[in-house]
């Protein structure tokens, strides 16, 4: 029995793992001891079952679609609208300037084409005669009175 206790740690050894003298001594003991021989047989029978079980478990999962799934996400992220969001989110200041620039340009055009504000405009009653026929303009605070010229003998004219 004390021999069994001595050789028990060696029962799980792999070939070549023990020194030759110990291996030969263990073999001699196994020839003589039925219990230790049975114990070693059990060990040899279960050896590798754990690794095989883990491999089998790992093999249950199919990693084939993994690459496709990753590539699909990458493609979505860099799709057309995604690129815009990426660019805007990484260049917020530039994006804001780019968006505001047309607004400022439009405002500048409006100011340019509208001309001076009414406060800077010429005074009311500005009268412009662009052809013959008008000779007299009376200015009142209610507005101008425009009279036609008397260039023929139709009758009298005036104030």
């Amino acid at each position: 029995m004390s021999e069994c206790r001595h050789y028990a740690p060696m029962l799980t050894s792999r070939p070549g793992e023990l020194p030759a003298a110990d291996a030969q001594a263990m073999e001699r003991h196994l020839d003589a001891c039925v219990e230790c021989r049975a114990l070693r047989a059990t060990f040899l029978a279960t050896e590798g079952l754990l690794a095989e079980g883990l491999l089998a478990k790992a093999a249950e999962r199919d990693f084939a679609p993994f690459t496709d799934a990753v590539m699909a996400r990458v493609t979505r992220r860099h799709s057309r609208p995604g690129r815009l969001y990426d660019w805007v989110s990484h260049h917020r200041v530039r994006a804001a300037i780019s968006a505001l620039a047309p607004a400022f340009a439009a405002a500048a055009l409006v100011v340019y084409f509208q001309g001076p504000t009414p406060d800077n405009s010429p005074a009311p009653h500005v009268f412009e005669m662009t052809s013959e026929g008008v000779t007299t303009v009376l200015k009142t605070d209610q507005g101008p009175v425009v009279l036609m010229g008397d260039d023929d003998d139709d009758g009298d004219e005036g104030t």
Binding site: R77, Y85, V88, S89, R92, A95, A96, A99, L100, P102, A103, F104, A106, A107, L109, V110, F113, Q114, G115, P116, T117, P118, S121, P122, P124, H125, V126, F127, E128, M129, T130, S131, E132, G133, V134, L138, T140, D141, Q142, G143, P144, V145, V146, L147, M148, D150, D152, D154, G155, D156, E157, G158, T159
Partner: protein, 152 residues
Amino acid sequence: MMELQQRRVLPTLILSMALAAAALLPSAARAEAVPTRVRVLKATRGTPGKLDPRLEDVKKQVSALAWQQWTLVSDQTPTLQQGTSTFIDLPDGGQAALSIVETRGNLVTIEVAMAQKNTQSHVTIEKGQRIVHQVAKEKDGVALFIVVTPWP
């Protein structure tokens, strides 16, 4: 993380586009059209002086002229357009063409033209004023005028 960034960026984009639209819309939607009251007046020499009660508001402008009797012939409220003439019929068979030349705030420049009489004038007035414009020369003591009141 990506969604969070989008939530921050989208309001900025929308606000910027709204600002751009706000800057563009006034110029695009600015309509050079002015509602106007146009009255045709017949002015006659003679005594006693007589002013149509409906012309009381133009009394100050016409009282200094050589005609003493003023009668309202027609009263209409067209909307004058820039670049488009609005024709006003006159009792003598002629027409006066009115159009907007320019509007700037409370100022408006109106063109009054009588093709038959080779007369065309541009008059700028401000809101609250009116133009009294002779449209037919005096004949047998009678002359024709129009009173143009923008934004009546």
